[in-house]
Symmetry: C2
Subunit: 289 residues, 2 copies
């Protein structure tokens, strides 16, 4: 283990030459400047887009993302809950309850609900696999061709994405936020989906063009949206998503780092740093994740 661990930035700043590793959760921009001996920046979050947007982040220090099995599992739970609710109409029944309406809808089998998972990294792969186990017809869209999870059809590239959208009932976004994926969920993408399809955004707010989604919802083209992330968080009180009857708003809770398992992940990387062993889950800064 490192010879010293400080739990506050002020103490670390008092002896900047002793700091070899920083374990951080989206610190204020500039926080990581001035540590000449820094050899590892370990994020406690899976998404490092906000860290990378800090222009003062030391360019030559390895940056590691959090890959916590409990976080991955929590994401798979949220995606499964949302997809089951969309398959079986439970969001519709909740709306009916508020209106005092007793009305039964047709029951769809899981294999009649094609699900498209955007992103086939750690979390996208786990989500796709969990949904396939439950019987859903799952396609996983990746940046590059590669090995699909069991029971999942894997596709890659923009052309394949456009084709897959036409047969998608539930779209689940688990992409990293990069210049290439920002605003991917826009009016064009919604228009490529069949009428009544659903959108589930569990990744980052700026993946989705909020105004385009509102228009697609209000036109009845998108049937429902489950949103865990937003351009501005907390979602501002006046935002129309809050009271929209076809939007489920979650307060960024789809998956949190679990301190119990994440601590072990951090310790493993700190030990590797000390031994000079390879560091795990390193970010490739040029691709953005």
């Amino acid at each position: 283990m490192p010879e010293a661990v400080w739990l506050d930035l002020a103490t670390a700043r008092g002896q900047p030459d002793r700091v070899q590793a920083a374990v951080v959760a989206n610190p204020a921009p500039g926080s990581l400047q001035g540590f000449a001996r820094l050899r590892l920046i370990q994020s406690l979050w899976a998404g490092v887009d906000r860290l990378l947007s800090d222009a003062s982040l030391p360019a030559d220090v390895p940056l590691a993302r959090m890959v916590d099995p409990a976080l991955t599992r929590a994401m798979a739970e949220t995606a499964l809950w949302a997809t089951l609710a969309l398959q079986r109409g439970f969001f519709d029944y909740a709306r009916q309850q508020r209106a005092g309406l007793w009305r039964q809808h047709a029951q769809r089998r899981a294999d009649e609900v094609p699900v498209l998972v955007l992103g086939q990294g750690e979390m996208g792969t786990a989500v796709a696999h969990s949904l396939a186990l439950q019987g859903f017809a799952v396609t996983g869209w990746a940046t590059r061709p590669g090995q699909a999870a069991s029971g999942v059809r894997r596709i890659a590239g923009r052309g394949a994405l456009h084709d897959a959208l036409a047969g998608t009932q539930v779209l689940i976004n688990l992409l990293p936020l990069t210049p290439a994926t920002r605003a991917l969920l826009d009016a064009d993408l919604f228009a490529a989906m069949p009428r009544g399809a659903a959108v589930v955004n569990l990744a980052r707010g700026p993946h989705l063009v909020q105004a385009d989604l509102l228009r697609a919802l209000d036109a009845g083209h998108i049937g429902h949206a489950v949103l865990d992330v937003f351009d501005s968080e907390p979602l501002p009180p006046e935002h129309p998503f809050w009271q929209h009857e076809r939007v489920t708003v979650l307060p960024h809770v789809a998956a949190h780092t679990d301190e119990r398992s994440a601590a072990a992940v951090v310790v493993d990387n700190l030990r590797a740093l000390q031994r000079g062993a390879p560091l795990r889950h390193l970010v490739q800064r040029e691709r953005g994740y």
Copy 2:
């Protein structure tokens, strides 16, 4: 196959001596009288409590329940959706959304949520198994000792039930409705559960004492209820469940017979009848299911 199939009761009544099998979905009491050669009553529903409450039901004609794989699977989906929502607080977040409230709660792992499934027949076993696969700590309560599903702790008897309730966070009822199970979910049972636990009734309305549940909810002892079945259906417009913020009302949709797979089940039993082979899924009338 039988020599003739009629799709309406009036035609059948016109030639009562030709009717050998009746395929029914809760017909009006008395409907099955007067068919002297009737040799099978095949229910299209899994629950036959309403059929058995018809005193004029021919006493000596075999009665078969519907055991449809699609229906069993739909029930497992509904139970999984409800349990995931309770584990991860998604009903709470829906309530927060209506109030415009952005607030995050602690994230529980599935293995931290003990689930008790009442009933270990066709559906209870499938539900318990599906929840165990998802990582929940599942106990299945059966009338008699027997083989547990993989990953499920099986218990039997009233004493064991009382002990198990103290450690239960989510109670899921899948019992058949019989004199022994009627009103089992009452104030005593709720009091035996820990504060904040949830009740999911997917079986029959009269299993649950509605007034006792309302009192337990309003006292904050029961944290949430998911109810698919009621004493009177449709649930009357003035019933307090409709607008209760800690009750999820479903309009009896937890699991419907799927006509595609159920048709095959019915045909199998009709063929067995014709060949004189053993009939499947026969009800033991003295036990009530």
